[in-house]
Amino acid sequence: MLMHLPVLVVLAPLLAAPIVALMRGATWPWLLSTLVSWFALLCAVLLLIQVQAEGVIIYTMGGWEAPWGIEYRIDFANALLLVLITGLASVVMPYARLSVEQEVGAERSPMFYAALLLLSLGLCGMTATGDAFNVFVFLEISSLATYTLIAMGRDRRALTASFSYLVMGTIGGTFYLIGIGLLYVMTGTLNMADLAERLPAISDSSTVRTGFAFIVTGICLKLALFPLHLWLPNAYTYSPSAVTALLGATATKVAVYILIRFVFTIFGPEYSFGAEPLAEVLIPLAVIGLLSASTVSIGQPNIKRMLAYSSVAQIGYIVLGIAMGTAMGLTAALLHVFNHGLMKGALFMTLGAVMYRMGGTNLSDMQGLAKTMPLTFWAFVIGGLSLIGVPLTVGFVSKWHLILAAIELGWWPVVIVILAGSMLAVVYVGRVVEAGFFGEARDPTRREAPASLLIPVWILIFANIYFGIDTRLTVDIAEAAAAQLMAGGVVR
């Protein structure tokens, strides 16, 4: 079965989703979804080990060789992403039981879990596939699941949030599809490796340039790069806590991965940064996004919304790393993709625990949390430190690499921007910590969140610390992935 791992990651949730949708009650759908996501995590970890041992893995669907058939192609970059997605799904699923019971209700639970499985399957599929059109198919699967999940939020504003994401997301998807269509007209192929081989010969044509522009813009909409991020704050704020945790940790990251795949593998760094003004466009947007979103998040009364704006800012760091166009920048971007997934997952899940006990995630609900819910509060503190980038947490590791990459290029203003962004993070995380420590608890009788919420949260918090201290695994893989990507084209 080991040779079928690339498809099993995607297949397991695909088989489980329709069965879960037919179940009744809340317990069985939850149990099956949890087991399936653990199985997917196992597959992803084995895949990563296999890639480390044997190099790039190619899996042909239906036995049709690429470029005629669809192939899955796993290298370091997407193996890392697969571990992130399935790992986050594996902690969010057990966590979801209580939180979903309260926020969504038992009646809609089967559909909720089916949509959650479809979301993770769509994200895994986008990551694993080596076919540009197949990416679009999985993008639509994950997006449709996301719209449904956001709309299940308790607040009625979830409906408008979901609708505006639907409109923006569809525009993004359509732009991507138009771009793929233009490339297909010029090359007659949809396979990523084949595209990479054929594009250099015709890269002068305006059709290819237009295709490039459409694809980059479409993906930047999905990854919420400033100023295309307007769908994100509402979508994250009003969706159920478990959904926010999974979305915030993985969805935009997969879009980042697709951007990296197109910029480096398919078009190649020489074309993207030489013939096209990609760096000149992305760097100002990333810098403005980073600073403005961090500043805006300081004033948010709702902490979930504050973290949503912080996500936009973090995307700024990642895009900055990509736009450097160097191996070090790319390493930093991939590291931050993984590390930001860990910290945002942990923080949003912590807020889910607050939501469960306090019924809201406003700053006023966080008052005096250190006394009433110490474990939840300390999880938030450590997650927040990681978000700021304090040493011994994952946030430090990726920011350190990003700063090194900027220094390597001699981009001192960018270094200052990165540090300023971290200072702003100190302010917005500090507000919450201050309220938790020194605020007067609204209701001192509220108890700590139940263990089934706390254990998944603390698993992620420990991951934040572990990967912050033992950086061998993540840094090595990110460096290997960056080396593969910088080579341009496709590693055979």
């Binding site: 079928h4 498809v7 297949l11 088989l15 329709p18 069965i19 949708a21 042909t60 036995g63």
Partner: protein, 144 residues
């Protein structure tokens, strides 16, 4: 539409032929134009005509929502199950060659089953979506 005699009679007369045509499109899909997606939409449109003529409640008696949900999920499972069958027979996912006695027979069987799965799901999902809109405002029309 009780007073539209002609529409009711012609509609009733057309429904079986629409379904038959859908089945033709479905099972001819591996030789000519057609396939599960188109067939599913055509098949569902027969039920849409039925709804327009006799009302949502009458159609939902024939095709209750819980059956449609099972059909919708079953179609996906059939499609994915064909792939699992080829996995278990030692080939790659969705490799139809191993399904039959010889590769061409396997391809034939594989594509028919997969297209049938698509047809089932598309039919059921189109009807569920139609009912979701058509049953709005009907006090007892909602099956749930």
């Amino acid at each position: 539409m009780n007073d539209h005699m002609i529409l009711r009679v012609v509609g009733k007369f057309l429904i079986p032929y629409i379904m038959l045509f859908a089945l033709y499109v479905q099972f001819h899909g591996d030789f000519g134009p057609g396939g599960g997606f188109q067939a599913g939409v055509i098949f569902a449109s027969a039920f849409v005509i039925h709804t327009l003529l006799f009302g949502v409640r009458a159609t939902q008696k024939i095709a209750p929502e819980w059956i449609l949900r099972i059909v919708a999920s079953g179609g996906v499972l059939l499609y994915a199950g064909v792939g699992v069958a080829s996995l278990l027979l030692g080939a790659n996912y969705l490799d139809y060659n191993v399904l039959g006695a010889y590769p061409v027979a396997g391809q034939h069987l594989g594509i028919i089953l997969v297209e049938f799965g698509v047809g089932l799901t598309v039919t059921a999902v189109i009807m569920l979506m139609f009912f979701a809109f058509a049953a709005r405002g009907e006090p007892e029309g909602d099956a749930s």
